[in-house]
């Protein structure tokens, strides 16, 4: 399992992460980010890509 943290004080709900890891990140109908705090190891590459594309650099994988 990998652990994921998003700094919600930084997150601007842009949803770029949604395209890289749709199984982990999601924008709800109120334009707010929802995400899984834990995901399967098979999601690691996608979440790494989400880390790269987040404009606010708000996403961390906690090792």
């Amino acid at each position: 399992m990998i652990k994921i943290q998003v700094d919600m004080a930084l997150c601007q709900h842009y949803g770029q992460c949604v395209f890289e890891a749709p199984n982990v990140f999601h924008l709800n109908d109120d334009d707010k980010l929802e995400y899984l705090a834990e995901a399967d190891d098979s999601e690691r590459d996608n979440v790494e890509a989400a880390v790269d594309v987040c404009p606010m650099q708000a996403i961390r994988i906690v090792e």
């Binding site: 601007q12 949803g15 770029q16 961390r60």
Partner: protein, 403 residues
């Protein structure tokens, strides 16, 4: 031992290329040379949230990854020239370094007004620039912005938030009109004015007056603006000086193919020289085959990953190179901007739209809105003010090339 892969430019594009090279399996020597003293960091906050609080490297640094722990970072070092035949570069202390493959990631530098130096003049590209400017944005300071593009308008909004008196001077008819078109530009100006930012549009700066430091900015129509601080955000130039003696195609950045391989003036594609980030002029077949430079934040990451995987395959010499280089590469241009309460987000290339091809797709221009940019029937870009979730499906439409 063979010579290292050398990446010139230690910012986002250089970092992402280094990471991608390691991901592609290249385990050999890797050197990243950059003239800034700071490890790679994120620039956008330097005109936005970070400029309004505490500007520090910690606040903007990209997290270091284990995969690039063994990279040789030569920071505070400028490359002055390169010899593509001898496979060498020269740094500012005269050192000659050999390379096996070269990555060009030297980005842009801000263009400056052709006026005499005086204390109080600023630009915003680097962390050091932002630190110097931050100290001067005190409540009551009279701040003049030269230029009304994204960075100019963002700094204007931030300075206003910090209690400065802000005037934007620009030859344009509206702020940010070139990238966004008239419809949104007019609305953004209205919102800035509602927050107390003044505009002098259709004007340029003719003269700077003051003793030890700036006191007045004189416009071309003779108007005098009292000023403590002048921030110049009038566009950028490509850092290609160190490539001047090469035969690479340097007309507007450095020309590359969709595999991010550099192309010489006679059209030859190089297997050993790559171009990434703001400085790369490359065709994006999502739209057409015209090479363009795209100064958006996602481009250094997308082109860096692309260059890293193609170069990685070339270095591996395992028979996959031709196949990897031929893969389709059509990164979706994406950018955003925060100015006061406005949260703007865009996908695609609005600049490709027909003059009459800009229309509202959803919402209300005075509140939250999605504006579509069409070339013929085809949607080439969308820009949203708010309406973030509703914007996402348009991204697929742009990528699919449908109207």
């Amino acid at each position: 031992m063979s010579a290292p892969v050398v990446i010139v430019g230690a910012a986002m594009g250089g970092l992402r290329t280094a990471e991608a090279l390691r991901r592609a399996g290249y385990a050999g020597a890797l050197t990243v040379i950059g003239d800034e003293v700071h490890a790679p960091y994120n620039r956008p906050p330097l005109s936005k949230d970070v400029l309004s609080t505490v500007v520090s490297h910690e606040a903007v640094a990209f997290p270091a990854r284990a995969a690039t722990a063994d990279v040789d970072w030569m920071l505070g070092t400028r490359v002055t020239s390169v010899d593509l035949d001898a496979h060498t570069i020269v740094t500012d202390d005269g050192t000659v370094l050999p390379w096996r493959a070269l990555v060009i990631a030297t980005g842009l530098r801000p263009r400056r007004l052709q006026l005499p130096p005086i204390a109080g003049r600023h630009s915003v590209r680097t962390l050091d620039d932002a630190m110097a400017l931050r100290g001067e944005l005190v409540p009551g300071a009279r701040v003049v912005l030269a230029g009304s593009g994204f960075i100019g308008c963002e700094v204007a909004a931030t300075a206003r938030k910090l209690g400065c008196e802000v005037t934007v001077v620009s030859p344009s008819v509206e702020p940010i009109v070139r990238p966004l078109g008239r419809l949104l530009a007019t609305e953004l100006r209205r919102r800035h004015e509602a927050h107390g930012v003044s505009f002098r549009l259709g004007r340029t700066i003719a003269q700077l007056d003051g003793g030890n430091r700036l006191d007045e900015v004189v416009l071309d129509d003779g108007e005098i603006l009292p000023a403590d601080v002048l921030v110049e955000a009038i566009g950028s130039d490509c850092n290609t000086g160190w490539l001047a003696s090469t035969d690479l195609d340097l007309r507007d950045g450095v020309l590359a193919d969709p595999a991010m391989r550099a192309i010489s003036i006679d059209g030859r594609v190089r297997d050993d020289v790559y171009v990434v980030g703001d400085i790369a002029r490359f065709p994006n077949l999502m739209f057409d085959d015209v090479p363009r430079r795209v100064e958006h934040w996602n481009i250094p990451t997308d082109t860096g990953k692309r260059a890293g995987s193609v170069l990685g395959a070339w270095l591996a010499d395992d028979g996959t190179y031709a196949e990897v280089a031929a893969q389709r590469f059509t990164p979706m241009p994406a950018f955003w901007s925060n100015q006061f309460e406005v949260s703007l987000q865009a996908y695609g290339l609005p600049g490709l739209a027909d003059p009459d091809g800009i229309r509202i797709l959803a919402g209300d221009i005075a509140a939250e809105v999605i504006v579509g940019y069409f070339r013929g029937e085809r949607l080439v870009a969308v820009v949203g003010l708010g309406l973030k979730a509703a914007l996402l499906p348009y991204r697929e439409q742009i990528a699919a090339g449908v109207g």
